[in-house]
């Protein structure tokens, strides 16, 4: 979707404010929201893509005036309600009103192992890759109302395949519970002038990761 999260190329936010190492949190609740988001993910009711879609779906004015962990908090509440793990009445009451569903729970003792294992997103597919390194491709012009990872600034643009990553879970499908639908994933390299016109920095290149369905031969 063309939501407020799709920020590439937008203007008006002012300078970046650098911050020194180790400043991960600015309030205790931020630590807890990060941990809650990771821990309840073990229930397996939604994918990382569904989480991202819940965040990007916030009204743009809300998204752009909320701190990052505030966005996470609101999205987590929505996901819990949408997927039936928590009732809206329970959020309103601020306490549990009924027993929980039976779901897998992340055991404290297994936290280091689970985080260190991660969850790879590459999947075997039968079809060979349509593109190879060096091939010229053009991203498609799409404006889906659902989730996509093809940013607006990189739609309808010609580039060159720089890497072939294997087939990966397709967020456009996975975000909506429609299956992993893996597709070949490529790094595509664009000249800055292709993206931004003649005014672009002459030495600029930008890469994105693009699934095969985002691409046509060029």
């Amino acid at each position: 979707m063309n939501g407020a999260a799709d920020l590439g190329g937008m203007m008006g936010f002012g300078p970046v404010a650098p911050e020194s190492d180790g400043e991960y949190f600015h309030a205790e609740w931020e630590r807890r929201i990060l941990a809650l988001t990771l821990a309840v993910g073990a229930a397996g009711r939604w994918s990382i893509d569904a989480s991202r879609h819940a965040r990007e779906s916030l009204p743009p004015g809300v998204y752009l005036t909320s701190s990052y962990y505030a966005i996470w908090a609101t999205a987590l509440e929505r996901l819990l309600v949408e997927h039936g793990l928590v009732g809206a009445d329970e959020l309103a009451a601020g306490r549990s009103l009924r027993p929980g569903e039976p779901v897998p729970v992340l055991d404290a003792a297994r936290v280091p192992a689970v985080l260190a294992a991660g969850s790879p997103y590459d999947r075997p597919v039968a079809a060979p890759a349509s593109f190879g390194v060096g091939d010229r491709v053009r991203t498609r012009v799409i404006h889906p109302s659902g989730h996509t990872r093809l940013p607006r600034y990189a739609r309808g643009k010609a580039g060159v395949v720089a890497r072939v990553h294997g087939a990966h879970v397709l967020p456009d499908s996975s975000a909506h519970g429609a299956g992993e639908a893996p597709q070949w994933l490529y790094s595509v390299r664009f000249d800055g002038r292709e993206l931004w016109g003649e005014g672009a920095d002459a030495g600029l290149a930008v890469t994105i990761e693009a699934w095969e369905g985002y691409l046509d031969p060029a």
Partner: protein, 194 residues
């Protein structure tokens, strides 16, 4: 985006309530939450990435393996997992400087760099890094030579980038662990030089 230090609109209370709901319903263990937090506040951070960088500077075979399969090469040093399942290492040279961003959210290589800093998640950085990276670098006090091209990597999938900065001049005598001390988080994102 409000800085995280501003009035939180009741988020402290909301978060506390949410945690108690999830604990009461049996979905999360409080000890698991504590363990997640301590992992990313104490155990996993940019010192990991600095070891990878220092090894690549000192061990040509390792450097080749890092180029060929960064995920596997990083795993040799014991690092990997969540938000680092598919790693790519990109090497700065006098001709090409690399900068990493996630314009769509906050994708970042946790196993080697830890959690992302607030600025990395900010609209200011995400919007401008792909359009005007030299302007962004100026905000960090960094000026690249004119001849140096800039390649910006927008992390739109589950692939995560680690920038290998150029080894500073005059460090020929340093051993690997001393070299690792020189490597900063921002240099491995591409917003600083060494």
């Amino acid at each position: 985006m409000a800085t995280d230090g501003t009035a939180d609109g009741g988020l402290a209370a909301r978060t506390e309530a949410l945690e108690s709901i999830l604990v009461e319903k049996g979905y999360v263990q409080p000890a698991a939450l504590d363990r997640i937090i301590s992992t990313y506040e104490r155990d996993v951070g940019p010192r990991n990435g600095a070891q990878v960088v220092a090894r690549s500077w000192t061990d040509p075979d390792y450097r080749e393996r890092l180029r060929a399969d960064a995920t596997a090469a990083i795993a040799e040093l014991g690092f990997g997992g969540r938000q680092g399942e598919h790693m790519v290492a990109v090497e700065n040279t006098p001709d090409e400087h690399h900068l990493v961003v996630c314009t769509l959210c906050s994708c970042y290589p946790w196993p080697v760099l830890g959690l992302p800093p607030t600025w990395y998640k900010s609209p200011a950085y995400r919007s401008r890094a792909v359009l005007d990276p030299r302007g962004v670098l100026a905000d960090f006090g960094v000026t690249l030579p004119e001849r140096t091209r800039v390649t910006v990597h927008d992390s739109t999938a589950e692939v995560r980038y680690l920038v290998v900065p150029m080894r500073p001049a005059g460090t020929e005598g340093l051993d690997e662990s001393s070299l690792a001390e020189l490597v900063t988080r921002d240099a491995m994102i591409g917003t600083a030089l060494l």
